[in-house]
């Protein structure tokens, strides 16, 4: 895999919803993008939208929460928790979802795609 990051515009910042997720279609792959406001900071995360246990494209519709100091999304199907930063499933060591680089440049939300 290339280490060179290829930042691609996905949508406008206004398309994101505070403390919740949206989904983008990127080269045929579904990516869930989250905007989390905690105290005065804003964090952005992007993970694969595919729920490997529920077997459906639904992670962006999950609830946001925290487990100790980890920020998680909770699958709307069977409630497994996935760490937004690492993609690990906190309820099943065997499972892991892909994590993508995400940043905001001006008014644009960008994803890092392997070139």
């Amino acid at each position: 895999m290339s280490t060179v990051k290829n930042w691609t515009d996905i949508c406008n910042l206004g398309d994101l919803v505070d403390n919740s997720g949206v989904c983008a279609l990127v080269n045929g792959e579904q990516v869930a993008i989250f905007k989390i406001k905690q105290r005065d900071e804003t964090y952005y995360y992007a993970i694969s939208n595919w729920d490997p246990i529920g077997k459906a494209n639904v992670l962006y519709r999950g609830l946001i929460g925290s487990v100790a100091d980890k920020t998680v999304v909770i699958s709307p199907l069977f409630k497994q928790r996935y760490c937004l930063a690492s993609g690990e499933c906190l309820d099943d060591e065997q499972r892991q979802v892909n994590v993508f680089g995400v940043r905001v440049e001006g008014n644009k939300v960008q994803l890092a795609l392997a070139s």
């Binding site: 996905i10 983008a24 279609l25 999950g62 920020t71 709307p76």
Partner: protein, 859 residues
């Protein structure tokens, strides 16, 4: 199979015979040194059923509801059973029995559980077609058939069973009479004073009571089918006569084969329930122990245990039984304990009678006034449990024994605490569970009421001991220092109820503000929806307002229930289950246009499945344009108010149940609660809407509405408790307002009303006190809060589709108008369903893209 096999033949499959089968097969599970080969021969066409609650057959229970077991369960236990197999012959030498069809069965041990038969007095003309008895389901079918062609019914016999039978006739709509030979009703259990009050109460319910009447002859009537001629020259005309003049032990078979029989009938048994033949036992109502026949189920069960124990080498004996009873006859509570008639020499009595309220209580104590010997309670049996414990355990009476039955002055309850009971105290007499057994269950690892119930079976028979059981369990939990942690999750060290108060009192309007003030972290799937629901209950804002969006579980955010493949169900409200043909057509058109799967649900509405997230707004737009609104199927809130068709159409209905259901559904729709809430409204006592299985159940009476609360269907079914009777519309709504708002304010997260009430200290009585007597002074406030919620109701879907901002949420992709190609449907029974995993694999393998397949499958 082990080398030792014992063939056991059980003759009779009543409640006691069935209990024996359970006991002996249970023993086999723990001890496999001997194999018990059990054969059951029943004269009836069905397996054991609950005869104690037989009269409920008339209030809608079916034979299946009353069944205590099923052929499948017996087969699983390895029990060989034969129905319609009356035994006609015992061969004591060959040790075998023969049934009427000629089959023979060899036994090592024979159990006679033949029960009893109704005694029909030798009256001339007692064998006519509409002269019936009350014992089996077949008898009830006959009574039911006869009542359809009768206007008047007479029950001969004013005992316990006779009054139950009279109630059945009354409920069947007959003009009902009770004819009793003795000077009073229930002469065995109740004294003269109690009998007088009982008679008044029963007559006030429209049943005419005739005491001291000896029927001599039944002849053809002039105005009715029959005329009953009494010894004193009077007569009474009636279309049907039901004999309930006591029972006689069914001992014919035993007599023919010279087992020892009592002078007045009954197979004589010893403490092991063994008859005069060392391999034949007799149990239940056919057995005579110490010259006494026990006509109740609990002693019969004890006999079954004694016989099973003797066969398996145990040491349980039958040593007589307490014949105390508590029951409700036509809504009149009656209790009788021990020496009700004060026949023990030296007995002293205390009597309390309150005629205006229709309450009569008497206690019988010994000469020294130190021990309770007996009691009679009519009109109010709330003291029964306490008195019974005093009597059974010989607990020292208080200095003024009368304090046990006098109305409590002040707030000190006269109840006997669980701690005062000795370990030997019987808590559940049906299953013979003592306080010691319950403590042993805790020692064995049980840690709550349901665990205790399932391992001891306590309170699973007649259920009369449930309140006492809970007291004992709670006290034991307290002693063990069990503290139930009420923290809702790691983010808040508070219960839902505490959070509710914080939100309300602190006027907190967002999750962020709440977590900042009282919690930490970002929340989770437990606290966020709970807080969302609290905010909605308290402030009733639109759930998709920005501050609340992130709180909602996906179902609340997308206003639909997510299904297994990520699509949603669409459930419009169909209040009371009433829908016009035009609206039905719209549902069909919408479903067809978007290719949705349709199903009629148990809540009397129509669910549309398979809507993609981006299809939700246009689907709802079409539905709302046709006059539909959201059904809140996705929310913890009021779901449906189920109704029967009611007096408008039904021949039996006494009130307009559909109209009432629609009004109630419209009042409470949108109310956010700790869990979903369901209502039912039935137009008459036949209860076709199954209202008693709902959180709020309403059953029409001729005078208004009876309100039942805190019932439940689903995983843990529970009948609702009768809360108030004969309410007018306004009072009904007032009570429901108060009950529901109190529930919303005080219940735990995801706690259904049934569990909530069971956990309220004081239970039903406390809730009645809060709602009916306004004991907390909260009544008007609760009504005001409910009115606010009703006034600020909005259809969430209407609000959602009207707002561009909200509509933006319903996109699969923020950067594309495509839809999710991994959602694949296939056809089944002419509708869509999600493709299974193997079907998806199959489709992938066939090297077509999912898109092509959808086209092929769906077009």
């Amino acid at each position: 199979m082990s080398a030792n096999t014992v063939n056991i033949v059980v003759v009779g499959n009543g409640m006691v015979g069935h209990h024996f089968v359970e006991q002996i097969t249970n023993h086999g599970k723990t001890d496999d040194s001997v194999h018990y080969n059990v054969t059951v021969l029943s004269a009836e066409p069905r397996l054991a059923y609950d005869r104690v609650h037989l009269s409920e057959y008339f209030s809608g229970k079916t034979a299946d509801d009353l069944a205590l077991t099923t052929p499948e369960q017996y087969s699983a236990l390895g029990v060989d059973f034969h129905l319609d197999a009356a035994v006609v012959d015992i061969d004591k030498q060959a040790k075998s029995v023969k049934t009427k069809s000629g089959q023979t069965f060899a036994y090592d041990k024979l159990i006679m559980a033949t029960g009893s038969y109704p005694f029909v007095p030798p009256i001339e003309g007692n064998d006519q077609p509409h002269c019936l008895v009350y014992r089996t389901i077949e008898d009830l079918e006959d009574i039911s058939a006869s009542s359809k062609v009768s206007k008047t019914g007479v029950v001969v016999g004013g005992g316990l069973l006779g009054l139950e039978a009279a109630n059945a006739l009354r409920e069947a709509g007959l003009e009902t009479h009770v004819v009793e030979f003795a000077p009073q009703l229930m002469a065995v259990q109740v004294d003269t004073g109690g009998g007088r009050l009982l008679r008044d109460k029963i007559e006030s319910l429209g049943v005419q009571v005739h005491t001291q009447k000896a029927t001599q002859r039944i002849e053809a009537g002039e105005t009715s089918r029959y005329r009953m001629c009494f010894a004193d020259g009077d007569f009474l005309e009636t279309d049907m006569i039901l004999f309930s003049a006591g029972i006689r032990p069914q001992d014919t078979l035993a007599r023919q084969y010279d087992l020892n029989i009592g002078e007045r009938g009954g197979i004589i048994v010893n403490n092991h329930c063994l008859t005069s033949d060392p391999d034949i036992y007799a149990i239940g109502e056919c057995a005579l122990w110490n010259n006494f026949i026990f006509g109740l189920v609990a002693p019969g069960y004890t006999m079954a245990r004694a016989a099973a124990s003797h066969i398996t080498g145990g040491d349980v004996e039958f040593l007589g039984a307490d014949m105390s009873t508590k029951l409700k006859l036509m809504g009149v509570e009656v209790g009788s304990i021990g020496d009700a008639h004060a026949r023990i020499p030296g007995a002293q009595t205390y009597i309390y009678e309150n005629q205006p309220d229709g309450v009569y209580k008497k206690i019988v104590v010994n000469r020294e006034q130190s021990v309770l010997l007996g009691a009679v309670l009519v009109g109010d049996t709330s003291d029964y449990d306490t008195l019974l414990q005093y009597a059974l355990n010989g607990i020292d009476l208080p200095e003024h024994p009368e304090s046990l039955i006098l109305p409590a002055s002040g707030d000190a309850p006269a109840g006997l605490g669980a701690d005062a009971l000795p370990d030997t105290a019987t808590i559940c007499s049906c299953h013979n569970v003592s306080k010691g057994d319950i403590i042993a269950a805790f020692d064995g690892g049980a840690c709550d009421l349901s665990a205790v119930k399932s391992c001891t079976k306590a309170s699973t028979g007649c259920g009369g001991c449930s309140a006492l059981l809970k007291t004992v369990v709670d006290s034991e939990l307290g002693k063990r220092g069990v503290e139930v942690k009420k923290d809702i999750c790691e983010h808040f060290a508070y219960s839902r109820q505490e959070l509710y108060h914080m939100v309300k009192v602190g006027k907190i309007k967002s999750f962020d503000a709440l977590v900042e003030k009282h919690g930490h972290g970002l929340g989770c799937e437990i606290c966020k929806p709970a807080v969302g629901s609290i905010m909605a209950s308290v402030w009733n804002d639109f759930v998709l307002e920005k501050p609340h969006v992130a709180l909602q579980d996906t179902n609340d955010t997308y206003l639909g229930n997510m299904q297994k493949n990520g699509t949603y169900s669409v459930v419009p409200r169909i209040a009371g289950g009433e829908i016009t043909p035009d609206k039905l057509i719209v549902l069909g058109q919408v479903a067809k246009k978007y290719n949705l799967y349709t199903k009629v649900t148990g809540g009397q509405r129509i669910d549309l499945f398979g809507a993609r997230v981006e299809q939700l707004p246009p689907i709802w737009e079409a539905l709302i344009a046709a006059g539909f609104e959201t059904g809140h199927a996705y929310a913890k809130s009021l779901r449906t108010v189920k109704s029967c068709v009611g007096s408008t159409w039904c021949r039996y209905g006494v009130q307009d149940s559909v109209g009432q259901a629609i009004d109630l559904e419209n009042r409470y729709k949108g109310l956010r609660a700790p869990h979903k809430i369901k209502f039912g409204v039935s137009g008459c006592t036949r209860e076709c809407a199954e209202a008693q299985s709902k959180d709020i159940g309403i059953i029409a009476t001729e005078n208004g509405w009876n309100l039942y609360v805190c019932g439940n269907g689903g995983m843990k079914p529970r009948h609702g408790d009768l809360f108030a009777t004969d309410l007018d519309d306004a009072t009904l709504v007032k009570y429901i307002d108060r009950v529901l708002m109190f529930y919303v304010a005080t219940a735990d997260r995801l706690q259904r009303t049934s569990v909530w009430m069971d956990n309220l200290e004081g239970g039903l009585a406390y809730l009645q006190d809060v709602v009916i007597n306004d004991s907390l002074g909260l009544g008007e406030e609760l009504e005001r809060q409910m009115q606010h919620i009703a006034d600020t109701y909005q259809c969430e879907w209407k609000t959602a589709i009207e707002s561009e901002e909200s509509r933006k949420r319903f996109r699969q992709f923020v950067n594309s108008d495509e839809s999710d190609k991994q959602i694949v449907f296939v056809q089944e029974r002419e509708q869509i369903r999600p493709a299974t995993e193997s079907e998806l694999d199959e489709l992938k393998r066939s090297a077509k893209s999912a898109e092509q397949i959808i086209d092929v499958e769906l077009v």
